[in-house]
């Protein structure tokens, strides 16, 4: 017994200390039982089961793309919060604040990480979808989770699109103008959409350029000050909030639908 005491490493000492044990409960995960307990007793790790089939940990099978998409969401949230410290969503300040981000802020590559990371997230969600299709992992009982995934991919595109406007440069307003011009043509609800003229009381059109979907999206007839604020709120609060709800469902359903797919 005293022999064992001597061999106890620093890690074990920390791991068996009351503070560590109060946080991680399992101690240093060395035995099989402790390792399983380390996963079960941790709120983040318990997204995973404690044990997995062997193929599920192979990058060749999963491409790690779903995990990377979620990781990028976290990276974008963190860099996004840092960017929000400096950025003011007004026509007066938006563009100059973006310049300051690169020139005045120490180690100013947060915008770069945010922008390139956003492009990457679009790609990783697409590739995740490709992998899930190629392995037939959408088949029952995972049909619903595939549909949730499609919605998450759409939300990713919306997140990227709403963020596109915020630098308030030529690229931003014109890309958003081109994108939102489509809304004008929404059937019934767009001022230049088929059927919109049917929604009228007598001679008074209910749907016109100041009351259609595009107006609701832009908060105006063209991309302006109110649009910038609207897209800012959508980008920083509304769409991430919705995406997080769908993500929670997506991750929970992976477990409930029988864990990762695999051959029987």
């Amino acid at each position: 017994m005293p022999e064992d005491k001597k061999k106890e490493s620093l890690l074990d000492k920390v791991g068996n200390s009351p503070v560590w044990k109060s946080i991680f409960r399992s101690g240093v995960p060395r035995t099989r039982r402790q390792r399983m307990y380390a996963v079960l007793g941790n709120v983040f790790l318990h997204l995973h089961p404690a044990r997995l089939p062997r193929h599920a940990v192979k990058v060749g099978y999963t491409w790690c793309m779903g995990g990377l998409s979620f990781f990028l969401f976290v990276v974008l949230t963190i860099t996004g919060i840092l960017l929000m410290f400096y950025y003011r969503p007004t026509v007066e300040y938006a563009f100059t604040d973006i310049i300051d981000l690169g020139e005045q802020v120490p180690l100013g590559i947060m915008r770069e990480i945010h922008r390139w990371g956003a492009h990457c997230m679009v790609l990783t969600t697409w590739l995740h979808m490709l992998r899930v299709f190629m392995t037939g992992s959408y088949k029952p009982p995972r049909e619903f989770n595939w549909a949730v995934g499609v919605i998450l991919m759409t939300l990713t595109l919306l997140l990227s699109f709403t963020g596109y406007l915020l630098p308030w440069d030529q690229l931003a307003i014109w890309a958003v103008t081109v994108g939102t011009n489509m809304a004008r043509a929404t059937p019934f609800l767009g001022s230049e959409g088929p059927g919109a003229s049917l929604l009228a009381i007598g001679d008074i059109n209910l749907i016109h350029s100041a009351s259609d979907v595009r107006f609701a999206l832009l908060a105006g007839r063209f991309v302006g000050e109110a649009t910038l604020l609207r897209f800012y709120v959508l980008h920083c609060i509304a769409v991430p909030f919705i995406a997080m709800i769908f993500m929670a469902v997506h991750f929970w359903r992976i477990r409930k639908d029988g864990g990762i797919s695999g051959p029987l």
Partner: protein
């Protein structure tokens, strides 16, 4: 020599030719039936999914970009900061398609021999998430973060001149992932290309697991067991989405005119627009009369054609060629599949009608913003 090559590439990349070529080659690359599969193997197209085939694909793509980088016109487009993700997309799409197909073919060979797919392991033999998975995830994150940080240090995020609502850039492009939709605007009006089709894409994608009744190939890569599914998905994905994005990014210049990769983006390039509506074809050219003033009468031919396409063709197919499929899928699933399939097919159909007959609208009622 290089000039001839560039001119050839410019010529081949015109949508008329490149789209036709890709569509014609596609069933031989992802053969949906036995007949296509035999030709695929006879022409050794399946070798695309071996290491050598992958290397050749990589060299071809890289060669194109290297050649493009040397060209002053293409370099301008290639060097735009926001176009780099598209280069990344081209490489990653090619790589992962190759990788998945390679694994599929290996699995198919195993299944032919009566073995289990290579993903199969004894269900009792499990690994622990801590440390086996957590450790792999950790390495993935670190590597990816290194890549992202290096990229961010090397390339500053693009920023153009301050927004100016009075100066419309030519061309004005949507963000790159929406360029497929913007490209559709050439052939369809915004209510279809910008609203109905995106909705149908989302609904259709959600519907995939519900309309695909093939139970095989769940949880492992396999082409043989799901070749029709692979074929349709890959056609929609590679051709109708990724290819259109590439066209929209690299090949669409001022006034949304087409420019080959090595052509100068001349803002004064003139394209003859002599597109004609179906109603004009019928009444003016066919019957030699002026267009009827009654809108519905004027467009009656268009309504008839669209009606036949959407409502008669599916019924006819269900009674003849697709009889077995109809019985297997049942009326609801079949109807849904037909709506989605015919909408997807309407894009290439409209493209060819435009290219061969200069057809503008099948139904053209600008008075009601109702143009198809």
């Amino acid at each position: 020599m290089i000039e001839t090559l560039k001119n050839t590439i410019d010529y081949l990349s015109t949508p008329t030719i490149s789209f036709t070529l890709i569509t014609a080659i596609f069933p031989f690359v992802f053969p949906p039936t036995d007949w296509f599969d035999r030709i695929n193997r006879k022409l050794r197209i399946d070798k695309l999914w071996t290491n050598t085939g992958g290397l050749i694909q990589f060299i071809l793509i890289t060669g194109f970009f290297v050649l493009g980088y040397q060209d002053p016109n293409f370099k301008i487009i290639l060097m735009k900061g926001d176009n780099f993700p598209i280069v990344l997309m081209v490489y990653s799409m090619a790589f992962f398609t190759w990788y998945a197909m390679k694994k599929s073919y290996i699995n198919d060979a195993r299944l032919d021999e009566g073995k289990k797919p290579m993903e199969y392991h004894d269900p009792e033999d499990k690994v622990l998430v801590w440390p086996d998975l957590v450790y792999i995830e950790f390495i993935c994150l670190i590597l990816f973060m290194v890549f992202l940080i290096v990229w961010s240090i090397l390339v500053p995020a693009p920023l153009e001149e301050p927004a100016n609502p009075a100066a419309t850039p030519n061309p004005s492009k949507a963000p790159w992932y929406f360029l497929g939709l913007q490209e559709m605007l050439v052939y369809f009006d915004p209510w279809l290309a910008g609203v109905i089709f995106p909705t149908l894409i989302i609904v259709g994608m959600c519907a995939i697991p519900y309309v695909d009744i093939n139970k095989k190939g769940d949880g492992y890569y396999s082409f043989k067991e799901r070749r029709v599914g692979y074929f349709i998905f890959m056609y929609g994905w590679v051709v109708l989405w990724v290819y259109l994005i590439i066209i929209g990014t690299f090949f669409r210049g001022p006034n949304w005119n087409f420019f080959g990769p090595f052509e100068y983006w001349d803002p004064h390039k003139l394209e003859v627009l002599n597109n004609v509506n179906l109603s004009e074809y019928f009444w003016v050219i066919g019957l030699g009369q002026p267009l009827p003033s009654n809108i519905l009468l004027r467009e009656s031919v268009g309504f008839l054609v669209t009606g036949i396409y959407l409502f008669v063709v599916p019924v006819l197919l269900a009674k003849t060629v697709l009889k077995k499929m109809y019985e297997a899928y049942g009326p609801t699933r079949y109807t849904f599949l037909m709506i989605l399939g015919l909408s997807m097919l309407s894009l290439p159909i409209k493209m060819y009608l435009r290219w061969f007959f200069n057809l503008k609208y099948i139904i053209g009622i600008p008075e009601w913003f109702f143009n198809i």
